[in-house]
């Protein structure tokens, strides 16, 4: 069921357009992420949903009601701020109790629900402490508890994990997913970290310069990027300039510089169209020599550099016909040859349907 609908939302700041005609619909109970680089408009969008900013054009419909003119305190959705915004002069328990006080809940009920909330975020017994006595991760959980305690329709999260270190961030990611599943509240999550978006979300909206480039599940956004920007932004991707040479029976022959490679036909194209061949590094096999096959693209090249990363190695291979590709190879896959070093002459190959031709 659609819970939030953004229709043609536009917000300008003088000459600069922060949000440009955005259309989105977000389902009840899903973990929806707005993903994009800084300045792409995702935070502005979030603030408009929360009510701290108004669009110039377009509408925000929450469960069918138009939010125009409705101030933040009357929309039943809450925000987890990037800085957590915990009230420094109130204890943890008083912080969490705040929204309940605002709607006039009885004192006994407040105490009970605050305790439940603390248990839910694994902070039982912390009620009497003040925010400045807590670690970053603990403050984050208090902010979450405070935002969820009066069961809002929707939770807006503005890069909540950005201030945490890598290890803590990972465990908090698991926490967030668990919370969202248990409580069942719709999460609208803003981040610039694409791996985080892929890990947490049911669906992702990839944004650039105020516009939504693609909306889809993590698998769709990763495996079937709609354009060059999405392919490049999400994960690592080889992007080689290509021109459509021939179209034959669902296969595209692409001219990459001097050589030809084949790709599956995705979107309809015509001969002469220019774009890029998008290919994920993990799709490329690398060996001393590879037997030719009708289902593979195969090229020779020289290893230029390699990056050892523990569980994988990334090889940058200069192709004989010009250009460079990156291949990601797990270090302990069965049947995998011993690693290569710079200067080695190798064959690389990938399945024809692993590559995508994308218009710009």
């Amino acid at each position: 069921m659609t819970q939030l609908e953004l229709r043609n939302l536009t917000r300008r700041f003088g000459e600069f357009t922060a949000v440009d005609g955005v259309n989105l619909s977000i389902e009840s109970g899903e973990f929806f992420t707005l993903l994009g680089p800084s300045g792409c408009g995702k935070t502005t969008l979030l603030r408009m949903i929360a009510g701290f900013d108004s669009p110039e054009e377009g509408a925000i419909m929450l469960e069918g009601s138009d939010m125009l003119g409705v101030p933040p305190e009357r929309r039943n959705l809450h925000t987890v701020f990037q800085s957590y915004a915990l009230f420094p002069h109130l204890t943890v328990a008083q912080n969490i109790a705040f929204p309940l006080r605002m709607i006039g809940t009885a004192k006994t009920a407040i105490a009970r629900r605050v305790d439940e909330a603390l248990v839910q975020v694994s902070l039982a017994g912390f009620g009497r402490r003040f925010p400045n006595e807590l670690s970053g991760g603990q403050r984050q959980r208090v902010a979450l508890a405070r935002a969820l305690v009066n069961k809002p329709k929707m939770l807006l999260l503005d890069e909540p994990l950005a201030a945490l270190d890598a290890k803590l961030r990972e465990s908090m990611q698991f926490e967030l997913m668990r919370l969202q599943r248990e409580v069942g509240v719709t999460f609208v999550y803003v981040t610039h970290d694409q791996s985080e978006a892929l890990a947490l979300s049911h669906r992702i909206a990839v944004m650039k310069c105020g516009r939504v480039e693609q909306v889809g599940t993590p698998a769709e956004v990763y495996g079937a990027p709609r354009n060059r920007f999405v392919a490049d932004f999400i994960g690592e991707c080889n992007l080689l300039d290509a021109e459509v040479w021939e179209i034959e029976q669902g296969k595209l022959a692409l001219k990459l510089g001097e050589v030809l490679a084949y790709a599956a036909q995705g979107q309809p194209v015509s001969r002469g169209d220019t774009g890029v061949l998008a290919l994920r590094p993990e799709q490329i096999a690398i060996a001393r020599s590879i037997a030719p096959s009708a289902e593979l693209n195969r090229f020779s090249g020289t290893v230029a550099e390699l990056l050892y990363r523990g569980e994988v190695t990334v090889y940058a291979v200069d192709l004989q016909g010009g250009g460079q590709m990156r291949a990601l190879v797990p270090n302990s896959a069965p049947g995998h040859e011993r690693s290569f070093k710079a200067g080695d002459v190798v064959d690389i190959s990938w399945r024809i349907d692993a590559g995508l031709f994308l218009a710009e």
Partner: protein
């Protein structure tokens, strides 16, 4: 940031700085010392005595002047803190043009201009010059100081806290009362103490708007200094210094911004 590391401590620099501090404190020290001097002349040390202080407390004129100063300062502090807090809040949140000018100008121009213009103002309105006219004038120039301190305090506060309060269901007024106000209270109190001090110490504006017959402590000191320099001046000066010192130490405790933002 800042010139953190102690570079080659230039001896010259230290010498000048030390002299400067000496320059700042020597005159005041002299006044304090002579207030205990058992001699009518401020020339050489004769002996230690409290007699000037005792004389002070028997001086009717002086006591009345002190009482007046205190009352004026209390009222000025209360009203200018209220108006100054409102002004500081408005200056921080709204894009007003006129308010900052009106609030800050009294602080920027020479005091004599305010004194003189207010004198004309009161006389033209047939308003009797007295304690009330002095109080009204004091409020006029104290509002600016309080506004500056409150505005600085607001600027240093995390905006997202007020937003969070709104987000969690508080109306703008409740957000102000429950979140903003507790956090700026130290600044407000510092402003109040500042206003009190400025009012008690004021000479120029009071001089023009007090008229005949009303006396404040600074005016009394002025008369005493101009006519016959009695040693009681030393005593009352020392006491006044002590009072001001205490108030300002309190104020800086509450609002570190006071040091930067007061000028």
């Amino acid at each position: 940031m800042g010139l953190e590391r102690m570079r080659r401590r230039s001896l010259l620099l230290w010498a000048v700085a030390l002299l400067a501090y000496l320059f700042l404190y020597a005159p005041l020290a002299v006044v304090v010392i002579y207030s205990f001097n058992d001699s009518r002349l401020n020339a050489e040390w004769v002996g230690f005595t409290f007699s000037w202080y005792r004389k002070l407390f028997r001086n009717e004129e002086m006591l009345l002047a002190a009482q007046n100063s205190l009352v004026i300062a209390l009222v000025t502090s209360a009203v200018s803190t209220l108006l100054g807090t409102m002004a500081g809040f408005a200056m921080h949140h709204y894009r007003t043009r006129l308010l900052p000018i009106l609030v800050l100008a009294p602080i920027a121009i020479p005091e004599i201009l305010m004194g003189v213009s207010l004198l004309i103002f009161f006389v033209l309105l047939n308003f009797t010059l007295g304690l009330v006219s002095v109080t009204l004038s004091h409020i006029s120039f104290c509002v600016g100081f309080v506004a500056i301190v409150v505005r600085a305090r607001l600027a240093g506060m995390d905006e997202s806290l007020t937003e969070a309060a709104r987000d969690l269901g508080a109306t703008p007024f409740r957000a102000f009362r429950l979140v903003t106000l507790p956090l700026i209270t130290p600044g407000v109190i510092a402003g109040a103490l500042m206003a009190f001090t400025l009012s008690i110490d004021d000479f120029v504006i009071t001089f023009f708007t007090a008229g005949v017959g009303s006396n404040t402590l600074p005016l009394q000191i002025y008369t005493m200094v101009k006519t016959a320099v009695t040693p009681e001046v030393n005593a009352v000066s020392t006491l006044l210094m002590l009072l001001t010192l205490t108030l300002i130490m309190l104020a800086t405790r509450l609002s570190p911004f006071l040091l930067r933002e007061s000028r």
